[in-house]
């Protein structure tokens, strides 16, 4: 069974004028068909307003389709009876860590989710400990969240989601507000979760370097999925990506530039090691 599956998913919202009268409809997601298998690492790229966050919000039923269907772990998100199962299957992490932390002590914040699921106290503490370990924040369990750096706060937010034992984590631009180290910490944490806990990861980002390890990359534009493939397949189409207001990692730009200047290096280079290797062979 697919972790996430959509069939002709459409999401529309009403456009209103100043008096609140409906003046038209906006289609944010337009007939999207996709399938994400358990354990996959999926990246979604797309410019501001392309519909990626709207699509992501369907994955734990914050939004439900206007038309078409979204199944999370086999459950239709429009079914009231299974709504809580859906929310438990797919956890979300947002851009701003400050908006997601509510506890005054790290461990209490992480325990908030499982507590709401009605889990016995002993098990809550077990989960809190395991999740904080999984994100590498266990030594801060008694700290106040507002004393932490951006990357640390974001890892606490991820631990809060992990404590609910989701099968799938959707991260909507989790690194947009972080400094380089914070970004590295968060990405390393996500990678660890995927490897060790076998969680399905869906990452939405504007940083091209962050998606080179993904199994599949989806590119969205005007509510449609316009490109789909491995990072290598996607990033070898520089012109097309630029058309969709996107880019390629800096290493890929450099490799392309060198190729343009006549060097014989393979196309689709994504990592700095690959470029260094190719260049050393030419030397």
């Amino acid at each position: 069974m697919s972790m996430i599956k959509t069939k002709k998913l459409i999401f529309e919202y009403e456009k209103r004028d100043e008096e609140g009268k409906v003046i038209g409809m906006n289609r944010a997601v337009d007939e999207v068909d996709l399938k994400i298998e358990p354990g996959q690492f999926i990246a979604i790229l797309g410019h501001n307003g392309s519909g990626k966050s709207t699509l992501a919000k369907h994955m734990n039923a914050i939004l439900v389709p206007t038309e078409g269907t979204m199944w999370v772990d086999g459950k239709d998100t429009r079914q009231e009876e299974t709504l809580w199962d859906v929310r438990q299957s797919a956890g979300m992490v947002f851009q701003n860590p400050d908006n997601q932390i509510i506890g005054t002590v790290v461990e209490e914040d992480v325990g908030f989710g499982p507590e709401n699921l009605g889990i016995p106290t002993d098990e809550i503490w077990e989960r809190v400990e395991a999740s904080l370990k999984a994100v590498g924040m266990i030594e801060y369990r008694k700290s106040s969240p507002n004393k932490l750096s951006g990357g640390q706060k974001q890892r606490v937010a991820i631990a809060g989601v992990v404590a609910m034992r989701p099968k799938c984590i959707v991260l909507d631009e989790p690194t947009a507000m972080l400094d380089p180290n914070g970004r590295k910490e968060v990405l390393r944490t996500v990678e660890e979760l995927r490897r060790r806990e076998k969680v399905t990861v869906i990452l939405i980002t504007h940083y091209m370097e962050e998606v080179i390890d993904a199994d599949q990359v989806f590119v969205m534009d005007h509510g449609h999925i316009v490109m789909q493939g491995t990072p290598r397949e996607i990033f070898s189409q520089v012109e097309l990506l630029k058309k969709y207001r996107l880019d390629v990692p800096q290493v890929t730009i450099l490799a392309d530039e060198l190729k343009r200047r006549g060097l014989d290096i393979p196309s689709g280079i994504l990592r700095k090691e690959e470029l260094v290797e190719a260049l050393c062979q030419l030397n």
Binding site: G46, H47, S149, N181, R183, H206, R245, L258, L279, N283
Partner: protein, 289 residues
Amino acid sequence: MSIKLEHVNYIYSEGTAYEKHALKDICLEIPHGQFVGIIGHTGSGKSTLIQHFNGLIKATDGVLYYNGENIYADGYKMKELRNQVGLVFQYPEHQLFEVDVMKDVCFGPKNQGLSDEECEVRAREALQLVGLKEKYYDRSPFDLSGGQKRRAAIAGVLAMRPKVLVLDEPTAGLDPKGRDEILDQIAYLHKQSDMTVILVSHSMEDIAKYVDRIIVMNQGQVMYDDIPKRVFSHYKELERVGLAAPQVTYIMHELKEKGLAVSAEATTVEEAADEIMKALSGGKGERDK
């Protein structure tokens, strides 16, 4: 229009349990017309520093001179300073509030006491500078896309015709094209109007591409203050304080380690490509010069 800080210290909530020494003995001078980048990990003091530039925060200790005048002196016209040093905060689009874009951009100049006609002239000029098309002027700012909203918000500051423009992470959350557009526009503004531009950013690639000088903040102190090449040559130290160098700098260092005759100083794609071509053609490029 230089900005000069002499032994500036700033302590948050002095004398309470939350006391934090955010800036420690900062001495620096930003001459008129420079394009300066400020980098530093979260909590390093960048935002506290830039809020001193237009007097939003008053130093606990030390002096700030704008154009040679001590801004903390009795009778100094703080309002005048704020008209000259424009600050664009993080996510400035959250501050949009008017019914249409034109009115929003007019808000600043209106508060400077200018006539309605003059306000509109300035607003139009500012909106053109940020590249927002005329068809958006009478739309609600909330109907614009993320990148457009941000431009409108920046125009609101530009309409006050500042001599110094300070931007705190102007590209956070924008798509790659939006990032390039805003930064290209700012670079163009800098070139055209000989404004001083101070850019705070977490993107080392962006900083390397645009600025003449980088100030690195760490734990409330200035750690480095130099041209980009020299700052990024300390990439290992930068990593220790939560930062990094642009990706190409790492590639150049690795190539050098592997025995390629490149200088590891490149910080942009162009420079790196030039260096690599030179090294692989066995120094031929050098002779041609």
